[in-house]
């Protein structure tokens, strides 16, 4: 089942913060975050595996809640280069290694000067 991302779109001014959520009705094995700029390949941002985990680099961080049903991506002091579509790719807690990421529908982020 496809995870639900929210919001669908957000417009920011440079320096503002944003939060993108990725929710599932069932516990997830992992969450992978990607950013895709128009006409380009999705670029890997980070992966979360453990409930309660938080990680990040530079001004982009993410969390995975204890129940492993929601992950949030935090963009602080946004820059123009943050513009793009953000996808969460998830794998359900399952019996095996499926290699199959189920992606959310994406959140379009536009940062304006």
């Amino acid at each position: 089942q496809q995870p639900v991302q929210s919001p669908q779109a957000v417009i920011l001014r440079e320096g503002e913060d944003a939060v993108i959520n990725c929710s599932s009705s069932k516990a997830l094995y992992s969450v992978h975050w990607y950013r895709q700029k128009h006409g380009e390949a999705p670029v890997f941002l980070m992966i979360l595996l453990k409930g309660g985990e938080q990680k990040g680099h530079d001004k982009i961080s993410a969390s995975f809640n204890e129940k492993k049903q929601q992950s949030s991506l935090y963009l602080t002091a946004s820059q123009l280069s943050y513009s793009g579509t953000y996808f969460c790719g998830t794998e359900k807690t399952s019996s095996g290694n499926t290699g199959k990421l189920i992606f959310g529908q994406g959140t379009t982020l536009q940062v304006k000067p």
């Binding site: 999705p42 890997f44 290694n97 290699g99 990421l101 992606f103 529908q105």
Partner: protein, 114 residues
């Protein structure tokens, strides 16, 4: 280090024809994944190959098929093309075949079916 490469960049076909898309993974990666990204939709998982074997496939008809070669490169074949097959086809590779391995994406092949 070279990233994932895909060819061709663009492909135009007519209904009923066959399309072949190619992917070269990052050196040292043994797993290759194929995704379809139709306009306005997210990425839909198509196929996963690891060590030359098909490990998993998504909810796509059998006319979507592929293979992985001994050098780990892969090709995706789409037979009897339909208009709704028009999409960006993305290939990704990972170091191994575990769920936690990061999938690195190529730039994609834009397939247009007329």
């Amino acid at each position: 280090e070279a990233g994932v490469t895909q060819s061709p960049t663009h492909l135009i076909k007519t209904r009923g024809q066959q399309a072949t898309l190619r992917c070269s993974p990052i050196s040292g990666h043994t797993s290759v994944y194929w995704y379809q990204q139709a306009l306005g939709l997210g990425l839909q998982f198509l196929l996963w190959y690891d060590e030359g074997e098909e490990r998993n496939r998504g909810n796509f008809p059998p006319r979507f098929s592929g293979r992985q070669f001994p050098n780990y490169s892969s090709e995706l074949n789409v037979n009897a093309l339909e208009l709704e097959d028009s999409a960006l086809y993305l290939c990704a590779s990972s170091l191994g075949g575990h769920s936690t391995d990061t999938q690195y994406f190529g730039p994609g092949t834009r397939l247009t079916v007329l």
